[in-house]
């Protein structure tokens, strides 16, 4: 087996040094009647060539986004990733290292985490950020738990702007922890929801997504004001990180905790994971923050260096009193985010965001020509909601057969809301050409005719 260095002769030699007669002697700790007698009922090992053939075959059965006009978003976005990003994250010393528990030989990881934390704090308009979470949805769940610890209350109010999967994650976690959730009805684009009325003296936090799941950009200021007036916290959720380049930061608008999905910077779609959750908050809340934190210090020679810090919040020290059970961050995805963001810089990020918005505006205008189709949004960044004649899921399927991946039918995420069956989320980015847009519009006209 190509990954196993020991030879049969070496194994025998080693067994002799150990004083074991056979390999079985080393497994005597397993009760005899529980030891597998032969091999598992699974295929035998294969050479690299065979494995490639098999997996290439499975890969080829899927319609890759790059092969078709592609407008799918709803929390995961396809942007161009500079070639240097993937090269750098595959450097052995990044790829094959562990959590930086031995900081003397992990300054590479620690320094990029420090850079990442600074970038995230700047983008979100907050004072501090952690070294990343699994993804945007789990970061949202952790933010709600953190708000409960800070306010010593246990009711969260979830706006209808929130991604339905994120809502489900918060509901599951809260249900299991015995906390209360008040989830508002889906706030479809173009309509306002009365979230202020849902915030009361029992409210620990209110969770609002902007741009919303439906693409609408939400003014967080009145919500922050109301939340703060009753001692509650505002958790702002962003599921498209590129929007930070153009939309006012949640921190500026009064958010107390900002969580975001960072996938769209530096990371591929990957059918949903791995992604990278961003988590930022105010300095005064840092000791209730979940997840790893990297901090600056000095070494024995007085030189600047970095370490993981404030670990007395964490499970390996505090065990059942920890702020979270989390034991990992999203290291390589976080590195990809950091490098892509460093390449973009302020100039590049703002231009990328403008380009996305411009593409989406153009597409929204073009879609007005399709009979029966209506753009519902008052405002949007790079994704908006269409009302289509008939069932959106059927339309998307028909368009897929016609070679266009048109977007996400809302019914896929809200199966229990039949009144939303005619809604379709459409995203457009710098990856779409004019030709892509024309093909979408033409295919839609044809299918709807």
């Amino acid at each position: 087996m190509r990954y196993l260095p020991l030879t049969a002769v070496e194994r025998l030699d080693m067994l002799a040094k150990i004083g074991a007669a056979s390999m079985d002697d080393l497994f005597v700790g397993i009760p005899a009647d529980k030891r597998l007698p032969g091999l598992m009922e699974l295929p035998a090992g294969r050479g690299e060539c065979d494995v490639e053939r098999l997996l290439n075959g499975l890969s080829a059965q899927n319609k890759a986004a790059g092969d078709v006009p592609f407008f799918v978003g709803a929390g995961a976005y396809r942007h161009h990733i500079p070639a240097s990003v993937d090269h750098l994250i595959q450097r052995s010393e990044f790829l094959t290292s562990y959590t930086p528990y031995q900081p003397e030989i992990a300054q590479g990881t620690l320094q990029y985490l420090f850079e990442f934390q600074t970038q995230v704090a700047l983008l979100t308009g907050m004072e501090v950020a952690n070294a990343s979470m699994y993804d945007g949805s789990t970061a949202t769940g952790e933010a709600v738990l953190m708000a409960h610890r800070l306010t010593r209350r246990s009711k969260s109010v979830l706006s209808g702007t929130l991604h339905p999967h994120y809502r489900a994650v918060v509901e599951t976690l809260s249900h299991m922890a015995g906390d209360h959730v008040e989830a508002l009805a889906p706030a479809i684009a173009g309509r306002s929801e009365d979230i202020l009325a849902a915030i009361d003296a029992d409210t620990s936090c209110v969770v609002v997504q902007s741009p919303s799941f439906y693409g609408e950009i939400i003014d967080l200021r009145p919500i922050a004001t109301k939340a703060h007036s009753v001692g509650a916290l505002l958790i702002a959720v962003v599921s498209e990180a590129v929007s930070f380049g153009l939309v006012e930061s949640p921190g500026q608008l009064g958010a107390d905790i900002v969580v975001a999905e960072g996938q769209s910077i530096g990371n591929s779609l990957n059918f949903g994971g791995p992604y990278v959750g961003l988590f930022a908050t105010r300095q005064k809340f840092v000791r209730q923050m979940p997840g790893r934190l990297c901090g600056e210090t000095v070494d024995a020679d007085g030189r600047r260096g970095f370490v993981l810090t404030l670990s007395t919040r964490e499970q390996h020290i505090r065990r059942d009193k920890a702020t979270s059970n989390i034991c990992t961050n999203s290291g390589l995805c976080c590195l990809a985010f950091t490098i892509h963001m460093a390449l973009l810089g302020e100039t590049g990020l703002k231009r990328l965001a403008r380009l996305n918005h411009a593409h989406a505006v153009r597409l929204a205008d073009m879609l007005r020509d399709v009979k029966g189709v209506e753009v519902l949004n008052h405002s949007f960044f790079n994704e908006f909601t269409l009302r289509v004649p008939g069932d959106a899921a059927t339309l998307v399927e028909a368009l897929a057969q016609a070679g266009v991946l048109a977007g996400v039918p809302v019914s896929r995420l809200e199966p229990e809301c039949p009144h939303l069956n005619d809604l379709l989320l459409v995203a457009s980015s710098e990856m779409n050409s004019d030709d892509d847009r024309h093909r979408l519009v033409a295919a839609m006209k044809k299918v709807l005719a």
């Binding site: 087996m1 990954y3 020991l6 080693m14 004083g19 080393l26 700790g29 009922e41 699974l42 090992g45 490639e52 997996l55 499975l58 899927n62 929390g75 993937d86 052995s92 990044f94 790829l95 094959t96 290292s97 959590t99 900081p103 003397e104 590479g108 320094q111 990029y112 970038q119 945007g136 991604h163 509901e171 299991m176 922890a177 003014d219 930070f244 059918f271 791995p274 934190l293 901090g295 600056e296 000095v298 070494d299 024995a300 007085g302 030189r303 920890a322 979270s324 059970n325 034991c327 999203s330 460093a342 390449l343 810089g345 100039t347 231009r351 990328l352 411009a358 153009r362 929204a364 897929a400």
Partner: protein
């Protein structure tokens, strides 16, 4: 997993004068400033067109001020991050014997496969009819995991080991609720457990009752029985345990737990020792997470991303969260909502979308490459290598539970350091100077000054021989009273011991423009 016990302070570390250079570089070791010190706001390494004039529709919420994000040109970015990478130690750099973490070789075939466009460039919400190969891959991975563990079902979506623990414990909570037994609020956790176990239980409202380990490092069925009562929901037990031992009474423990109406959660962090040798399902386990980044070689990546699928017994399978795979009259599909469907009553949803697909591809690539024969051999080699290190060091180092065969990792304590003025931490730091990543230290908590060594199956005999010789040299130096070699270590790494106390007392968690830092003492 690792725990350093207390923070490192600098009082005991001797300062030494480094070879002075004008740049502070040392040949291949280059000092590198922060992105914020070398980048500029008006530089970008990405060429993008400026869009033609258009009317924005941002609802008046356009960003007003500057963000403050510096940019780098591509050559600057390459150099910056390559230099940073050179300050890291990885598996590809050398032996990485971090106990409980299974730092095995990361095959590059896996990386290549995960980047195929049919896996990397597909969206989780594009129509399922356009991704049959992705669903087939998830089904194939599920089959392998179920077969290897002898369990009934698998929930793929957890994003890491601790997330898998959460998934398993939520399934247990849902199963108890379905039985109407809401009064079961206690989870038994042995003292030797990973910190994530009690933290997970507490996160969803369980209280933790600890179970002491026996004098031999094992959990005794009698101790479990004594702790069991009608309030107990589950036990969380790691097997092989964190002392590197297969729990001898695991079957009796499982029976006692089930008899008391509770469930058996197994922490699968150490599954690498027993793949192809024993199956958790045959031992009475109800739920176990599998760290794809440990046993199945997906890269640790400096701390993630991980993946923690959870295998489930027949009793818990109906409660697995959404999404889950179903093969029926419509063929293979992913059920994405958590409404009850037939016999399936999902407890909810753990994450957006479908989990860590990129890790599924890598793990399956590993499994296909090894096959049933290769995985069994890998477990045997992992155990052989750990025992070879044990045999090579047992006369000089001390073992908390006597010299007995171990599984894939060998545990030493600090009794052999008694009276020398040196600690486990000093040994770890001296290993850095010798070109090794240290072992796991101060974990598990049941061994005083623990040193937990897991070489994995990826090491050659030559590599093990050199490591053993190095450890012996260090041990002899300790006995010879060469304190300075340890107290001043590491001397040769990119940074020497770092002041963790200062980092925690005056947290600096992000860059801010400010006066230059104090310079080195020379």
């Amino acid at each position: 997993m690792n725990s350093e016990g207390g923070p490192t302070a600098l009082s005991q570390t001797t300062s030494i004068r480094p070879a002075r250079t004008f740049t502070a570089n040392r040949a291949l070791q280059q000092e590198e400033g922060l992105l914020f010190e070398i980048g500029r706001l008006d530089v970008t390494g990405v060429d993008l067109e400026e869009p033609a004039a258009f009317v924005p529709r941002l609802g008046g919420l356009e960003r007003a001020g500057a963000i403050g994000l510096p940019g780098l040109s591509e050559p600057e970015a390459m150099r910056h991050y390559v230099r940073l990478s050179q300050k890291n130690y990885g598996i590809d750099s050398g032996l990485f014997p971090l106990g409980s973490c299974t730092m095995k070789h990361n095959p590059r075939l896996n990386e290549k496969m995960a980047r195929l466009p049919g896996f990397a460039d597909i969206h989780p919400l594009q129509p399922q009819s356009t991704v049959p190969g992705a669903l087939a891959l998830m089904e194939m991975l599920s089959h392998w995991l179920i077969e290897m563990t002898g369990m009934n079902a698998v929930a793929l979506s957890p994003k890491a080991g601790a997330h898998g623990e959460l998934c398993g414990m939520m399934a247990i909570k849902a199963a108890l609720a379905a039985r109407g037994e809401h009064e079961r609020q206690v989870v038994l956790v042995p003292d030797s457990a990973h910190g994530t176990n009690p933290a997970t239980a507490a996160l969803i409202g369980f209280s933790v009752r600890s179970v002491p380990a026996g004098a031999d490092g094992m959990v005794r069925a009698d101790a479990v029985k004594a702790a069991l009562d009608g309030d107990v929901a589950a036990i969380m037990l790691t097997n092989p345990n964190t002392c590197g031992l297969f729990e001898a009474e695991i079957v009796a423990i499982a029976e006692a737990v089930h008899e008391a109406g509770a469930y058996f959660y197994c922490d699968g962090a150490n599954f690498n020792a027993i793949v192809g040798k024993a199956r958790p399902g045959d031992l009475g386990v109800d739920a176990m997470h599998i760290n794809l980044h440990k046993t199945f070689s997906t890269p640790h990546g400096g701390g993630g991303p991980g993946a923690g699928p959870v295998v489930l017994s027949a009793a818990l399978a109906p409660f697995a969260p959404a999404p889950y795979l179903r093969r029926d009259g419509w063929g293979l599909r992913l059920v994405e909502d958590s409404a009850r469907e037939g016999d399936h009553a999902p407890f909810g949803r753990l994450t957006a979308f479908h989990g860590q697909m990129g890790m599924y591809v890598r793990a399956l690539s590993y499994m296909l490459s090894h096959g049933a024969n290769g995985m069994k051999q890998a477990s045997e080699d992992a155990v052989l290598n750990a025992n070879y290190i044990r045999a090579g060091l047992s006369d000089l180092l001390s073992q908390p539970f006597g010299d007995q065969p171990c599984m894939h990792e060998v545990l030493f304590d600090d009794a052999w350091l008694k009276g020398t003025g040196l600690t486990t931490l000093d040994i770890a730091k001296a290993l850095i100077d010798e070109g090794y990543h240290p072992m796991t230290i101060y974990f598990p908590l049941v061994a005083h000054g623990a040193m937990l060594i897991e070489p994995t199956e990826s090491e050659s005999k030559l590599s093990l021989d050199l490591f053993i010789a190095t450890m012996r040299d260090l041990a002899l130096a300790v006995k010879a009273g060469e304190k300075e070699r340890f107290l001043s270590a590491p001397r040769l790494s990119p940074r020497r011991r770092l002041d963790e106390t200062r980092a925690a007392r005056q947290p600096v968690l992000r860059w801010k423009p400010r006066a230059p830092l104090p310079q080195a003492n020379d």
